[in-house]
């Protein structure tokens, strides 16, 4: 079992909404690769209490589907705490969770977001072919990625 010390990978999405399930599918691939489930967290969406959770880790990687056109079908970038924040129970972006984590718990885990381009979002289980390709490329890249 590959256990990532002090690293949490959070897959965000909904696998009943086609390519919105990319975040979860990414984690499933990692599980098949032998990553320990303790390092992997499946979430429909982030919530305020996730600030308390990530405060316990040194590194956090958020993985989510993305509607925007991405050159390689995926993108990895650093995330820093948001300067300005808003709140809705239906949408709390990673940078706002980091802001809360810093504000409440005085912790600032090194954080990344992996965006994987998706194409279809209807109520259906299963990724599109294009999203599946993007997922493969992302997983392949991630194997050699050192956060």
């Amino acid at each position: 079992m590959k256990k990532l010390d002090n690293t949490l990978i959070i897959g965000i999405g909904n696998n009943t909404r086609q390519d919105d399930g990319l975040g979860w599918c990414f984690l499933e691939h990692l599980e098949k690769e032998g990553y320990h489930e303790d390092s992997l967290l499946y979430k429909y969406q982030l919530m305020v209490e996730d600030a308390e959770l990530i405060a316990k880790y040194e590194k956090v990687i958020f993985v989510d589907a993305c509607k925007t056109q991405l050159n390689n079908g995926f993108e990895i970038e650093r995330v820093l705490p948001a300067e300005k924040v808003a709140f809705s129970t239906h949408e709390v972006p990673p940078n706002q969770i980091l802001n809360l984590c810093e504000n409440i718990y005085q912790k600032k885990p090194k954080s990344y977001i992996i965006k994987i381009q998706g194409y279809v979002w209807d109520i259906q289980i299963g990724l599109s072919n294009e999203a599946t390709e993007n997922l493969k490329k992302t997983v392949s890249y991630f194997k050699n990625f050192t956060p």
Binding site: Y44, Q45, V48, E49, A51, E52, K84, V85, A86, F87, S88, T89, H90, E91, Q96, N99, L100, N103, I104, I123
Partner: protein, 483 residues
């Protein structure tokens, strides 16, 4: 001044997608105001044709906030389809379901108070919009924010322990539950080693009530009068004692003076309620048939529950209920903003109930499922965090659902929320030369007090927030705010 119409869309810090329209005449006076629910779902229709045992799982998809409530209400109905009435479930099954339910109410009330309502209370109605959120609360009051997070987490951990996961898990099966509780799971909530324990939850709940009472003491004039109006109140009460009951009881309604309007077996609801529709909203308007559409509507939820019950059957929450009731000389409380206070008393009640159950050996029993003679109709009614929740299913002889009716808590509160919007619109917008952001927030606050779940209520896939639009009397859009 031209005639105009204000539209608030989306309404913020509520669950679901709504819109407020305020129509103003040439003199700048509010002529009418509406809360429109603009999501459409049709869950009642597309569940038809599914086997009955799928219902407690499928209906959870109504919402990401209250799936547990739908799971339990549906399960109670489905029990009857397999010939098992609530009193015939095994003690272990009943207690495990109750524990799940109380965990849900506890976490949902925590979410509402700390994440959604507390910014209005801490920073006031005139605070800038960018400050009215949990993050600003966390910045200025870290201890309160930490407690809020950990209290919600406690409730969610209860749900996870019983249902397997925090959202859309499964505990109930027809006639019972599919798993029991272990000693290790119980100790997790009692020993305080990994998370603050249930005694801490009780203490923190008491502290938050003290905070609310102090806030009320300092702000009584506005908190007492804000969006206050007389109404009927509906809630489940214990079948013998009349005490507050969240899982199974009789349906009781009283009017604004405390006169009893209804006291029936819950499964008789169909003979006593109707649902009206309006062309401007997907949300129906339930009312008691006997009293008609105009006079038969009820508030439901924490305030209504405290108004309709004779007492609360846990020690500390009952003390707080008595203090709460003393403020209105034991008369029903019709002050909308007191719903927040009532909600906190219920949080305390749930924490106490959770402790009682955690100390009950039945929780770890192994007799989990009861069987009976199948029937074709089942009705499950519980008190969800936001109020009375009704699920009814009919099946054919193959066990396929032929009819489903859901009356969700927020639907009961539809008329009350609309009256709240009209009341506040009249108070804050009449003859004002300028419509300001704090004015619009006050309209939202009148809705937010009910903690509405618009996704559930319209049974919708949804985006969330609320819109306010300003229209002239011909319906022409003059101004709009979207948040």
């Amino acid at each position: 001044m031209n005639k105009k119409k204000i539209v608030i869309e989306p309404v913020t810090r509520v669950e679901g997608h709504g819109k407020v329209t305020i129509k103003m005449n040439e003199e700048g006076k509010v002529e009418d105001a509406f809360l429109h629910i603009v999501e459409f779902r049709g869950f009642e229709k597309f569940i038809q044709g599914h086997p009955y045992w799928e219902a407690p799982v499928l209906v959870q998809r109504l919402c990401g906030i209250c799936p547990v409530s739908h799971h339990i209400a549906a399960a109670k109905a489905i029990d009857q389809l397999v010939g098992v009435d609530p009193e015939n479930l095994t003690p272990t099954a009943t207690k495990l379901r109750k524990l799940l339910h109380y965990g849900q109410v506890f976490q949902s009330h925590s979410l509402h108070f700390f994440y959604l309502a507390s910014p209005d209370i801490l920073f006031g109605i005139d605070a800038p919009a960018e400050k009215r959120n949990i993050v600003a609360v966390a910045t200025e009051n870290q201890e309160l924010a930490k407690k809020g997070i950990l209290m919600r987490k406690f409730g969610q951990e209860i749900i996870k322990a019983l249902a397997g996961k925090k959202i859309h898990g499964i505990l109930a099966v027809p006639g019972g539950v599919h798993k029991t509780f272990t000693k290790e799971e119980r100790e997790y909530f009692l020993d305080g080693k990994q998370i603050p324990n249930v005694d801490t939850m009780i203490e923190w709940s008491k502290e938050i009530i003290d905070f609310m009472k102090a806030y009320h003491f300092d702000n009584a004039p506005w908190i007492d009068n804000f969006a206050a109006y007389p109404s009927n109140h509906l809630g489940l009460v214990h079948k013998e004692t009349g005490a507050m009951e969240l899982y199974d009881g009789r349906l009781r309604s009283i009017d604004s003076e405390g006169n009893e309007l209804l006291n029936i077996e819950d499964i008789e609801y169909r003979y006593h309620f109707k649902e009206a529709v309006e062309p401007w909203s997907y949300l129906k308007f339930p009312y008691m048939t006997k009293y008609g559409r105009e006079n038969g509507w009820n508030r439901v939820g924490p305030l209504a529950r405290i108004n309709t019950c004779s007492h609360i059957p846990t020690y500390y929450a009952e003390i707080e209920r008595q203090i709460f009731k003393a403020y209105t000389q034991d008369k029903p409380n019709n002050m909308t903003m007191h719903t927040h206070w009532a909600r906190l008393i219920e949080m305390l009640h749930c924490a106490e109930l959770i402790k009682e159950l955690l100390l009950d050996e039945d929780l770890m029993g192994t007799d989990l499922v009861t069987k009976g003679t199948p029937r074709n109709k089942g009705i499950g009614i519980i008190e969800a965090p936001r109020g009375t929740l009704i699920h009814e299913y009919h099946t054919d002889d193959k066990g396929l659902i032929t009819k489903c009716n859901l009356i969700v808590s927020t639907t009961h509160n539809n008329e009350a929320m609309n009256r709240g919007v009209r009341t506040i619109a009249n108070e804050v917008l009449n003859h004002k030369p300028e419509i300001t952001e704090p004015m619009l927030n006050q309209i939202e606050m009148a809705i937010r007090a009910y903690d509405p779940c618009l996704s559930c209520a319209t049974h919708a896939l949804g985006q969330m927030p609320l819109i306010v639009q300003l229209e002239d009397l011909q319906g022409n859009l003059l101004d709009e705010k979207i948040r």
